[in-house]
Symmetry: C2
Subunit: 247 residues, 2 copies
DNA sequence: GCGACTTTGTGCCTGCGTTCACAAGTCGTT
DNA sequence: AACGACTTGTGAACGCAGGCACAAAGTCGC
């Protein structure tokens, strides 16, 4: 991690900022759809659910193009963020593990929306291999090296059972995949140069459980009785994601 | 958020720690299955993919029960973490939005595994209402108040399209739900006292895209050619999640 | 052309999270 | 009983992230 030293003149974008850029991007699209040609950091921050100072600082990291007194040009900012995130090109994705979840992901529209294209479905089960889903035939996991090379795949999505995750992950990496989105409940270990992000239902639920228990044991056990909640107590309408977001 | 002040003698567990406890719990189960009665912080940390010092400090926050010179009693630690996370009881969950993803979630085994039970499926579409999935009939979203009260639901899972997310979220909150797991690509705003966690495919992919682009533009464009990767370079086998984890 | 107003970009401070390194404590062996 | 090997728990240092507040910079109206 110190290995990947950022040259001084290099454009350094903090991880925390990178994690928020997609949110800003979505907010910008929302504003664009509403007809805004420009947006102030205040407006944009409200839609994105963050502090406006944080938003400005985030944008400043990518050499911001705001105009003082006016705000940000929505279209230009969309371009700027898209470029930074690498969304101006299309990324080919392999989806491995066509079970319950994998099947749903294969049909998930959100993939295509921002330049991600599932170009390969992969499984180990002979019964599933050959099956066609959304116009793509399921391939054998052992064909990964060829498939990854031929279809220029750089991102793999892992939706296998936990027990198979590490093995499949190794195969993906060996085949040349350098980014993995892991849905399996298993901590993957990968060589340097490969990025892994994990999405884990079970963990999220357990975190909610912790807070839920805390609420129950704390002050008001009758909290669930109040339909409107005792909410909106504080002056700022405080979007909850600030304290609850994954980042 | 300052509202929720932790009394000094209160057991304070930092958010970052809470987010890792589920990972430790899973690691402990793995070790238990392998026959370990005790585990050192080093072993446990390796399985969980974190630094051992961090693990020890995390465990110390919940009044740790390790024994110097020996390690941690696996069974006891499982109990300890389970209790802290509130997993000794069963949480009833409502799943709202029975589309592509919702359908998959309804059949997801991972829910039940740790005390979460889907006791209600909810949708707005009349065509889906009444349909039975995994033994549960899909209810009308307008029946939420009754359903939440009768079935003692405290956690809601949102799997609706983004456009409907805020409206449904409001209904969940009004019905008494105090924790929400949001799969929709929309920033929810909720009153104080309600926790929201979001899981967003699209965001995760875009973050990967950022790093992928960086890798491509940086030093070695031939990185994908090296099957073994230039990995395992550093002495510590560095599980990638340290730099890539959602936390 | 000028003044008042708006909004950005950022310096500074504060607090949290991570990591190192070590003292304190426990067990097994001699 | 004493010693050495091992492991936990934590004090301290460091770095990152968040937020306030303000100067710089630009726009709009007259």
């Amino acid at each position: 991690m110190t290995d990947q030293r950022p040259t001084v003149r290099d454009r350094v974008v903090p991880d925390a900022t990178v994690a928020r850029l997609p949110v800003y991007l979505r907010a910008l699209h929302t504003l664009a759809d509403e007809g805004h040609a420009t947006a102030s950091s205040e407006e944009l921050a409200a839609v994105a659910g963050v502090n406006s100072a944080k938003l400005r600082k985030d944008l400043s990291h990518l050499g911001s193009y705001g105009t003082r007194g006016v705000g940000y040009d929505v279209a230009m900012l969309v371009d700027q963020i898209s470029t930074t995130l690498g969304l101006t090109r299309c990324w080919n994705v392999a989806l491995v593990g066509i079970g319950n979840l994998g099947h749903a992901l294969a049909g998930y529209a959100g993939f295509a929306s921002r330049g991600f294209k599932i170009v390969a479905l992969v499984d180990r089960d002979p019964d599933r291999i050959g099956q066609v889903i959304n116009g793509i035939a399921v391939s054998d996991v052992d064909d990964l090296p060829r498939i990854v090379a031929e279809r220029r795949i750089s991102i793999g999505v892992l939706a296998t059972p936990a027990a198979a995750a590490q093995e499949v992950c190794d195969k993906l990496v060996a085949a040349g995949v350098t980014s993995i989105l892991n849905f399996a409940s298993h901590v993957l270990s990968v060589p340097d140069g490969v990025d892994v992000r994990k999405v884990d239902l079970s963990i999220e639920l357990q975190i909610l459980s912790f807070h839920e228990q805390r609420k129950a044991s704390r002050g008001a056990p009758s909290l669930t009785r109040l339909p409107g909640g005792r909410g909106a107590a504080g002056p700022p309408p405080s979007t909850a994601d600030e304290k609850a977001a994954n980042g």
